[in-house]
């Protein structure tokens, strides 16, 4: 048995208590009741039928009539996956360079001389970049999509833009934090060897933060795939589009096929990133 009392929780305990209290408050303000958790009537039938279909995902269309010339169900599924991945990849291909540039400018280390004086324009430039990033990040990709839909109509390019803008902002913010928190001893050593500030940054600072930055980018790609799937609810023919269509038509087995495909994609990403993490650390 532990001889001493456990370490006093202090602030952390207070924060925990505060969070719980906030939760209780939220519950009351939302007018929720536990009765709302029990599905009734028509909804409970939907729930039962949906769950029953879980073990029998569709391999073919469930509709009794399928117009001639429609591609086979597996082909539709694959086309949806293809489009989902393509949107995500395209969005990341824009977000990554943009995020890097903005991330550099938003970091404090970029503007400092590694212990020296920051250049005069620095605070203004840095904070305007941080403001821009905050603006980009705080609008959800679905909201960007909705705004672009209103402005441009249904347009695959605006779907890609809708994902890239907030993702670039998030990447920039995370990159700038990683750069600011990276160990600076190598940068100092390069400065001592006479390297210019740019080289000190690129070859002394960025390499220290690079493994984390790469891991986060990979994670962002996985998120982009999910966001791309959800865009399907807004008319773009990604996984979400077909899933919604099948659900509205009560073809629950088809819905489960799409869900399993989504699981498979995410599990593949998990396995891949796990393997990468081992290589980077070992």
């Amino acid at each position: 048995m532990p001889e001493r009392a456990p370490p006093p929780l202090g602030r952390r305990g207070l924060v925990l208590a505060g969070a719980l209290a906030a939760g209780v408050l939220a519950y009351s303000f939302l007018d929720l009741s536990l009765a709302g958790l029990v599905p009734r009537g028509g909804q409970s039938r939907i729930l039962r039928e949906f769950l029953a279909a879980a073990l029998r995902p569709a391999l073919d269309y469930e509709a009794s009539f399928v117009p001639p010339g429609t591609p086979s169900f597996p082909r539709t599924v694959l086309a949806a996956v293809h489009r989902t991945l393509v949107f995500a990849a395209a969005a990341l291909s824009v977000s990554l360079p943009l995020g890097l540039v903005l991330g550099f400018c938003a970091s404090s280390v970029w503007w400092s001389d590694d212990g020296g004086r920051p250049r005069r324009l620095a605070p203004l430039a840095q904070w305007s970049v941080r403001l821009a990033i905050a603006g980009m990040r705080s609008v959800h990709e679905l909201l960007w999509a909705v705004v672009f839909l209103a402005a441009f109509g249904l347009n695959t390019l605006s779907a890609v833009a809708a994902i890239s803008i907030p993702f670039a902002g998030t990447l920039a913010k995370v990159f700038s934090e990683m750069l600011d928190e990276a160990p600076r001893n190598t940068a100092f050593a390069l400065r001592a060897a006479g390297a210019s500030p740019l080289r000190v940054f690129l070859f002394g600072l960025v390499p220290r933060a690079l493994p984390d930055m790469a891991a986060y980018t990979f994670y962002r790609f996985e998120c982009a795939v999910r966001s791309s799937a959800v865009l399907g609810f807004f008319g773009y023919e990604t996984l979400g589009y077909y899933l919604k269509l099948s659900f509205d038509n009560l073809h629950y087995r088809e819905v489960w096929t799409y869900l399993y495909v989504l699981f498979a994609l995410v599990l593949a990403f998990e396995a891949w990133s796990g393997a990468l993490r081992q290589r980077f650390v070992a």
Binding site: F188, A189, A193, R199, G204
Partner: protein, 238 residues
Amino acid sequence: MLEGIDLAVARGEVVAVVGPSGSGKTTLLRLLNGTLRPTTGSVALEGVDLGALGPRALRRARARVGFVHQDFALVPNLRVSQNVAAGRLGQRGFLAATRSMLWPGARDLAAMHTLLGRVGIEEKLFARTDTLSGGEQQRVAIARALFQEPVALLADEPLASVDPARSRDLMRLFFEIATERGLTMVVSMHDLAVAREFFERMVGLREGRVAFDERTSQIPQARFDELYRLAERTPGDA
């Protein structure tokens, strides 16, 4: 932190700087290589006042002084070749510098290989730096400093992370290299015994001031004892 320092090191001379922790040894070294500016007075390298130089000239001056840092300051996930190549980043055009880090040319590789051989780890040329032991990483740091082709070499507590059995070997290596290349060398150290054994001139620092600056043979034991004596006014401190 440092006060009243008046120090001159001649070309080719080898000096040890000793003193308790916090006495200012690292600060002194950083002043010598121009990464720290004195608040009063000046630091001159080869007769040129570092304080009067513009940024680009200052960088060129720094490139002439190699520095081996206490914690090595290497990038753990890069290869040894890339860490060593970083030593010349201050001396090349941007494209050449980038190339040397990513795809080093044959001449660079040969030079690095020779240097690593000189410090005893030639086979580690392409190894990942974090797979090396502490002592081996120390040698990579030395190789990086030498890759600069400096006229002077500064080392900040190089024996701190080395076990006592190896300290003398490492010191011997430093001395051989300094002699071969005619380097001026200033080494800060904690270990008095090794310092007295190898160095002919020693500078003692205590609380930011120079306690002594003489030829080793002429420093009585009492001066060393006094250097490391605990300060009287704060009895509770270590």
